[in-house]
Structure formats: C-alpha cells, structure tokens
Amino acid sequence: MSTLLKFERVNAFYGAAHILHDMSLEIAAGERVALIGRNGVGKTTCVNTLLGVASLRGGSIAIGGSGLKKPRPYVAAGLGVAVVPQGRGIVANLSVEENLILGTAAGRKGHWTVPRIYELFPILRERAHTPGTALSGGQQQMLAIGRALMSNPALVILDEPTEGLAPVIVDQLATIFNQVADLGTALLLIEQNLSLVERVAHRYYAMAKGAVIGQGPVNAAVMHELKEHVVA
C-alpha cells in the first residue's frame, strides 16, 4: 500500500508558541485512521500545519511520497487530501449547491459529482438554493463532507465532525463515513467520540501535548483503555 500522507518529526508553531513536538504519523491508501486526544493537544494544529496555517519549522510533511517544501492552504486539495475543517467552514454567502461547487476548485475528476453528493445526502438537494449557513448543524456537516468529496480526494481529513451533533446524526454520519471508505477513500478521523472511532477506524494514533503517545489497531478493549486515559 502506498503512503498518502506522512508527518515525520513535525514541529509546528503559531508565532512563538511551539505546539507540535516531533509529531509523526502515516496513512496509506484506503486506510481508516483515527487521531484522538483531549482538547488542545494539537489535533487541529496537525491539519493547520499541513495547510500552512501553522508554521512548519522542523521535520517534514509529504503527500503521496513527495515532500511539501512550504505548505500552502491550496496545495493539499490538488494533491488529493481534502479537509473537513473543525467548525465546518460553510461559506455564508454561497448557496448549498455553490458550496459544493467550491469543492471542485482543485480540479480533480472522479466518482463524486453534485448529483452523487445529493444521492448521499438527499436533504442537500432539497435545500440546494438556500444559503449554506441556513442549514442545521448536522446538515452543515453533511455539506462540508460533500464539499470535501467534490474534490475526489484519496484521503479525507475530518476534524471533529460530530462535535455538538445529536446521537442520531452521529449514527447517520458513521454510516456515511463507512460508505465513503468502502469506495476506497482513506479517512483520517479526528475525534474525541471513541464509540464513533470504534465504528469507523481500523487504526488509531493517540496524542498528548503535541506528540503521539500511543498507536495501534482499534478494538473494544483498546478503546476502553483510551477512554480512561487519553480522552476523559
């Protein structure tokens, strides 16, 4: 299996604040990986470093085997790594459908088109012409996922996609994540909801203080252990 995304001893900063300390992780094509950890350990900072929003000063990040010299926000999508940002990032002055079309900016052709996203999330078709931010939280999350898929990515990074959502919506999203992964798309699921991790991911990294403190396969026993020590 080829490596899609690789962090090697990444050190990242916001200004002078040193957030990631020798952070390493690796995701291969088609894998379902979870990144877990408490609030403020640096999970989002991993995404921000990939996008060049936090500054990379030590270590390396590679997509599909080639290193990013200077990460820029618009680079990852073109190389097949789509991000569903924490907080969803729906553009308020675009309609639902226009938010989906924004996802085609990377110019990657493939399985996902607007009609296919509407098959996956029929509610989005009904609301196609309303402003994106007029949707409920769960629907906005679906829109953010749909927008990421529109770039036909090899890997989707989901940053706490179920934060603040009702359990029924979380169940619905878990099914969607598995459906997307079954099509061969790799997932990096950033989560604190370990029951969701257990239903979706096959492998995990656990983070504390900007570094990996544990990793391995996902199973009920391990998740129980992590619940006690890493997340709670």
Binding site: L51, V53, R72, P73, Y74, A76, A77, G78, V83, P85, G89, V91, A92, N93, L94, E98, I101, L102, G103, T104, A105, A106, G107, R147, S151
Partner: protein
C-alpha cells in the same frame, strides 16, 4: 428642466458605477481601502488622451483598461500582497503614497493645463431624447455603465471563477483550502479593479475635462458609494452609485448651497438606517 437633471444624474451615476465597482472589488478581496483609485482613474484618462490622439477613442477604450490591468497586477504583487498581514493603516498610507506619486507623474508628463478628448465621431452629435436635446456621448456613458454592471454581475453570479471570488471575499482561508490560490485570484481581481478605474477615466475624458485635480471629486463620491452600498458589495455599490448620481444632479438645482455636503448626508442617512450599508460587506 428636472428631467435633464435626472438624465445628467444617470450619466454621473453610470460613471460612478464603473469607478466604485473597481474600488468595491479590491476592498472585497484584499480588504484594501485604495486611496489611489481616483489617481488611477486620472491616469486612465490621461493615458486615454495620448492613445486616442495617436489612434482613436475606441482603441483607447480597449488599450487603457488593458494597460491599467497590468499596472494592477504589479500593484497587487508588489504592494497589496506583501502588505496583506500588516495593519490596515500601513496599507492605507501606501495607497496614499501611490496617490501622490501618480498625481506628480501626471503633472510631469502631461502638464498642469486642462486637456480634452473629443467624443468619437459616431457619438459627437446631439440627439433628441424625450424632447430634450442631449449629447449622444452621454447616452453612451449610461450604456457603458450598464455593460460594466451587467458583465460583472454575470461573471460573479454565473462563472466558477466568480463563485470563487465571492467565496474568497468572506472566507479566504476556507476558499483556499478547497484548492483556490486566493493570492493569485486576488491579484487578478485587483487587476480588474484597476482596469475599471482606467476605463472610468477614458469614459469620463470626453465629457469631464482632464486636469491634475480631476480625481478629487470622483474619488470622494466613489468612497461614499462603496461605503453606502456596503463595503465590498457590488450590487449595493450599483444602487448607491445611481442614487448618488441623482442626489448630486437634483441637489445641484434645488439645494445648490448644500451641494458639496449632500453625498455625506446621503451616506450618514443610509448608515444610520443600515449600519453595514445596503448590502453588508460581501461581493
């Protein structure tokens, strides 16, 4: 009497549409309050004078926006882009400096005396409009304003690039995460905005005379339009431009002693009613 003033208000409003849409676009993507926009307009008029005197008006109307667009690309690349993370006052001072440089350049190259550009032959006659005799060129100015407003609206509403521009105007980081090189897109938008300033200059040249002080009236009115319309909003700016054109023209007849303050009264009235302007701050 009133109808000729309404007509002239429409002509001036159309010119403001072209001016202020450039200003609104640049603000929308770069968040730059471009004090040099009026000087770019003046430079466009003077360049138009030179190009038109060697060729003709129509060539100038195409060539000037193209030249000004190139200048806009350079302006973004060497000023707005490097300064985008600085505090807004720095950027305002830089555009103010550019204003001084451009004013000086125009006086050095073209002198201080008034110049004029004749209307193109096709439009040099007067025509009868609802019983008024009006210069055909002024009707053409209204038409140019409509074309600019229509073309920009179509571009922003119905093209993919227009969609990216609208997205980047409110969510630059989210937009670039989708794969849009927002810096390059902003450069292009600054080029379009600068080209529009130049276009406004060449449009104004045959009916307002060219002088080194020609920018001051128009730039103040353009700022009033952009603020009244909602910073960065194009449709808001279009509406505000037409309204200000009427206020100026009709006010000059009925309230001549207040003519200079009317734009500000309009702006204050609208902002008291809607603090974010007609449309709020989005393209």
């Amino acid at each position: 009497m009133l109808s000729i003033n309404i007509f002239n208000g429409l002509v001036y409003g159309a010119l403001l549409v072209v001016m202020s849409s450039g200003l609104a676009l640049i603000y929308g993507l770069r968040r730059v309050v471009n004090f040099a926009h009026g000087s770019l307009y003046m430079l466009g008029a003077y360049l138009g004078y030179t190009v038109a005197s060697h060729t003709n008006f129509w060539v100038a109307q195409v060539a000037v926006p193209l030249l000004m667009g190139l200048l806009g690309l350079a302006l973004d690349r060497f000023a707005f882009r490097p300064l985008q993370d600085r505090d807004p006052l720095t950027v305002i001072l830089v555009t103010f400096g550019l204003l001084l440089v451009l004013e000086d350049l125009v006086q050095t190259v073209w002198g201080k005396s008034n110049l004029s550009v004749p209307a193109p032959d096709l439009l040099s006659a007067s025509v009868d409009l609802f019983g008024m005799s009006v210069p055909a060129y002024r009707i053409a100015v209204i038409f140019f304003g409509l074309v600019v407003a229509g073309a920009l609206t179509l571009w922003l509403r119905y093209s993919k690039m227009g969609l990216f521009v609208r997205a980047a105007s409110t969510e630059p980081t989210i937009t670039s995460m989708q794969g849009v090189n927002v810096d390059r897109l902003s450069g292009l938008v600054v080029a379009v905005g600068t080209a529009l300033a130049g276009l406004a200059g060449i449009i104004a040249a045959p009916f307002l005379s060219l002088s080194p002080s020609m920018s001051s009236d128009v730039i103040i009115d353009s700022f009033v339009v952009v603020v009244t319309g909602g910073l960065g909003s194009l449709s808001g700016a279009f509406a505000a431009a037409l309204l200000l054109g009427q206020v100026q023209a009709v006010g000059a007849v009925y309230l001549p002693e207040f003519a200079t303050v009317l734009p500000y009264v309009l702006m204050m009235a609208v902002l008291l009613w809607r603090p974010a302007g007609f449309a709020g701050n989005r393209v």
